[in-house]
């Protein structure tokens, strides 16, 4: 299976990350699939850090999913790593996609949860719609 997203779809995803997360003080937000593919991102970090973070996030999510299954859960739909100054929040968008947020201690976790949920709701229809335009490719 392959995924093609038009310029407009990517633009919309970026806007969602901006409006629901980045404008609340989040350092960086990105969408990945469970294989580690980086779908969309926005924020302060350079791309050279985001690519390995995407790969590690997917692996981290996959590993905890396996743990969940071993104790009789389907998965953990939400993960949160707390550091001294920086934190990472992961939430499942749907079965194939994960939303990852990096934020400092100045942002309340409640705000991240709320923003992630709202963002996920808006992201789902874009990633699952079939009518992607390939105009201008040939």
């Amino acid at each position: 299976m392959n995924l093609v997203l038009s310029r407009d779809s990517i633009h919309t995803l970026e806007k969602i990350l901006e409006n629901e997360l980045l404008c609340n003080g989040v350092e960086h937000a990105f969408i990945i699939d469970t294989a580690g593919t980086l779908i969309s991102e926005g924020g302060k970090l350079p791309m050279e850090d985001i690519l390995p973070l995407a790969a590690l996030s997917a692996a981290n999510f996959g590993a905890t999913e396996k743990m969940a299954q071993m104790i009789g859960e389907k998965d953990f739909s939400l993960l949160f790593h707390k550091g001294t100054n920086h934190n990472i929040h992961f939430s499942r968008i749907n079965k194939d996609f994960i939303l990852v947020t990096l934020f400092g201690n100045d942002v309340a976790i409640g705000l991240i949860r709320h923003g992630s949920n709202k963002a996920a709701e808006k992201i789902i229809p874009i990633l699952t719609s079939q009518e992607e335009c390939l105009c201008g490719l040939h």
Binding site: I10, E48, L51, P52, A59, A63, L134, L137
Partner: protein, 205 residues
Amino acid sequence: MAFIDMKRNEIQAKLVYYGPGRGGKTTNVLHIHKTMSRQICGKIVTIDTKGDRTLFFDFLPLSIGKVMGLSVRIQLYTVPGQVLYNDTRKLVLRGVDGVVFVADSLKVQQQQNIESLRNLVENLKDEKISVHDIPLVLQYNKRDLASSSIPILSHDEMEHDLNRDLGVPSFPASALKGDGVYETLREVSKKMIRRVTHKLRDGNY
């Protein structure tokens, strides 16, 4: 899963180095990272045990140029070869677009090569991928040992063991010295990109 981003004009595809433990997968990636320019190669991530055994995976993003006006980004991963770590291998194999199978030329590894290839076929099947469909290249690594006293498998033996049914491109290599590393990478990348762009041309999306 290959991903095409029409805003950045970019293709992203996932390449996995597979094979028996200690066969030289990580050594391939380290050589690529050491010798490629920083413009092509991103940051490397390795998750290994205290020694040098891969515990989870190695990761290296590569920007390898343009095809049909799209920049091609390959996300390179290795799996842990140790038999024990099959759950981890399956995790890394998720959404794979191409595979390099790194076989060990050491005679004592003959059976491990065959078992690891069988394990690849099984794990691909769980991903709903046929080994005959996916872009796949074999690498017969550690050929430098031919000049030592350590018994190694002949090229023909390895072809017979591993490539008889598959009939895919295969390359002798010494990842330690860097021989054959780029030939392998180039061939599998070509196959992967051809696969994605064919579908694009046919408008199969």
